[in-house]
């Protein structure tokens, strides 16, 4: 049950939340400035 330590989980959650925003905005800026090649799927 140590995995469910609330403080540990919330800290991680907050971090990954903000990291997701930062990385996405950075990638969006690269796309907008044409510094990233076209992303194919």
């Amino acid at each position: 049950m140590e995995h469910f330590n609330e403080k540990h989980m919330l800290l991680k959650k907050l971090n990954s939340d903000w990291w997701a925003v930062i990385v996405a905005l950075f990638a969006a800026a690269l796309v907008r400035l044409h510094l990233m090649p076209h992303v194919i799927w």
């Binding site: 049950m1 995995h3 469910f4 609330e6 403080k7 540990h8 989980m9 919330l10 991680k12 959650k13 907050l14 990954s16 939340d17 903000w18 990291w19 997701a20 925003v21 990385v23 996405a24 905005l25 990638a27 969006a28 796309v31 907008r32 990233m36 076209h38 992303v39 194919i40 799927w41």
Partner: protein, 363 residues
Amino acid sequence: MATVAQLPARGSGSVGQFFALLPGIALLAVIGYAGKLTELAIASFGKSHHIALPNIEYVLWAIVYGLLIGNLIGLPAIFKPGVDTYDFWLKLGIVFEGARFLLGDVFRLGLTTLLFTAFVLFFSIIFMTWCGRYFGLSPKLTSLLAIGSSICGVSAIIAAKGAIDAEDDDVSYAIGAILALGAFSLIAFPFIGHLLHMSDQAYGLWAGLAVDNTAEATAAGALYSDVAAKFAILAKTTRNATIGFVVLGYAIYWARKSGKEVTGDFAHNANFLWQKFPKFVLGFLLLSLLATLNVFSAAEIKDLANLSRWAFLLTFAGVGLRTNIRQLTRQGWKPLLVGALGEFAIAGVTLALILLVAPHLNP
């Protein structure tokens, strides 16, 4: 129980922690890409042999490969830190998805979702409380199941744990039940959606409203169609945004019940709400705002949508890898049964609402 966050050992430094993530992330990429290759290979086989094969999305293959590896072979410790980042890739994919929505649509559909969420929450609390009493579950376990099934699965249960001072075992049972039912919904939802010939938008909103965990809700949407995934993400993200209010409500209820003094301090409550608010929603709204202001061209929006797909590819591999079937079956049948009854009831009520309202929603 599914594997939940394990950060690299302390003391190894930021660089060491970063490198510790790489093997697991590489594994997510390999499994996810294998899923994509399988989808392409089946489609290509059908085309070259002139056979009409059903299009099984990479989502399902990635989850199945992850399940097989995680449950038959097991996950070596070296991969665990990286595999636990699936949550990050999910949030990253959701933020990118913001670029596919105009802000007006976000608020219009978000408002509809909020109204549905309020109704589902009200229904869920009454139904779960009755079921919990009937089957003799502890009141706090019942509260956790109601929170988990009405708002957003594991995150909501973890957030509520401290707020209502729940027992560890109750938390474990509630998370196990929600994860087991989330896995089941990946099969049941697309099946029902196809059976009822639901539109992409109606199905997506239904999956986003009724499937508990964000990763499973996204996967359930993607299993139906790309457009359905888009609407499932919007509905689920709106639901997630209400987590703070629900947990705060339960915290006040349990504090009152146990005779503790409840502070009505606005600043204290606002701080609590901010703490529990999923911050990646702000990124989603920001990209949606930029798209609405025509900051991105159509080709750039396509690039961002493709980045979102790659991020989800890693997420779905993680969903399979972290689902430990053996541990899910060990949790006891009562919480699972109460959770299942609640889920079926919520899914049914939400489906009825969506079918009622869907004809009036603009595509």
